[in-house]
Assembly symmetry: C2
Homo-oligomer: 221 residues x 2
């Protein structure tokens, strides 16, 4: 059964919430409680999880430990993933220093740049490699994930090279959307969607007429 | 009625889908169709929209034009928003050149940097200003949104300065999580969540034992 990409995209949030419950010492969780934590209806929770088999017992809730364990397995988080970083400018260096990857099993094992002044430098225990070395190193180190931190104008070209080396997943920091063939996934910041999710609150402060109308209708209904 | 942040975060996706339907010439859309497009249950769609009043008629579906119009009003997308950019390095310059903001009503009207070599330069029609000018310019131009494109080590300090100038919404490109007081919202790339939503597919290719098990259970249930 094919699992919709949107559902897969939600699973890491389930993992976070379940980890928090486990830290609190909770052993069972209902779809109602999960729904409250994730702001979704219990029916949506049950539907999402139903793609992956039958986790809970009707009326008893899910075992926190077992659901967490299974979701981590399904997301393939129970292993180490080797990552290539492309672009070691200011942003790339910050990414190399980000402490959140290693505890989650993500290891940056290669860094590339096409700037000759960067190539050969030692950063975070890695020697920056020229782009021409990418095919050999990606194959040798069995790298399937790449983080792209190059200028927007170069992003598509870099992603093309990564794809031709066999990379299947790209995290794109460049503020530009890139195209990939089927079977290759890209995640990136979508600056417009992110901004639009904040203007709601700004509008509320400024007293949007539409918002007032909606609240009035809501109060009446 | 307080609208959960997760629901607000989904509304821009509703807006995108409704725009596509409008372009296609569709006039009515059911919660089932919206659910198919957004990979959510019809009940979840109805619940999300119920926070904002009564949009649809039972059994008839929603008017695409009217729902789109109202959601744009609720998200306060029916106006221009002035944005300050902090950090005009490689990434900041790419953001200044991003063509997706203006058509959505987002205008970058000021650029700041603490690097004296950047200050005074003309970029995308703006003169890069020193950080010391931030309080004056943010107030004068009535800026409520900022995009932060500084190195990770400086991000928290920059966000503090923005908050003290009255900025209420921050889009953070630095790979670090920043703290803000209540009432100030931050969106950023969460690199670990993004990576975790892709490893599912990599695991499937490599044949994760857990995934096989889940599929087997699913097939049996």
């Amino acid at each position: 059964m094919e699992v919709p990409e949107v559902v897969v995209g939600r699973l890491p949030q389930y993992v976070r919430v379940l980890r928090d419950l486990q830290k609190k010492g909770d052993r069972l969780v209902s779809s109602k409680e999960l729904g409250d934590l994730l702001q979704m209806t219990p029916a949506q929770i049950r539907k999402d999880l139903s793609y992956f088999g039958r986790f809970g017992k009707q009326g008893r809730g899910y075992s926190v430990a077992s659901l967490l364990d299974q979701l981590k397995g399904i997301l393939a988080l129970d292993r180490e993933w080797r990552i290539a970083l492309v672009g070691v400018g200011r942003l790339g260096r910050a990414i190399l220093g980000y402490p959140g990857f290693a505890p989650e099993g993500f290891q940056i094992v290669a860094a590339f740049d096409d700037d000759q002044r960067q190539v050969g430098q030692a950063l975070a225990g890695l020697i920056v490699q020229p782009m021409s070395e990418m095919p050999r190193i990606v194959t040798e180190k069995d790298i399937r994930i790449a983080i792209v931190a190059v200028p927007a104008a170069q992003a598509q070209n870099v992603v093309n090279q990564l794809v031709s080396c066999g990379v299947k997943s790209v995290l794109n920091y460049a503020p530009v959307s890139v195209q990939t063939p089927e079977g290759v996934r890209v995640r990136g910041i979508d600056p417009v969607l992110s901004l639009q999710s904040m203007t709601y609150y700004l509008g509320a402060e400024l007293g949007s007429a539409q918002q007032k109308r909606a609240h009035r209708i809501g109060a009446r209904a």
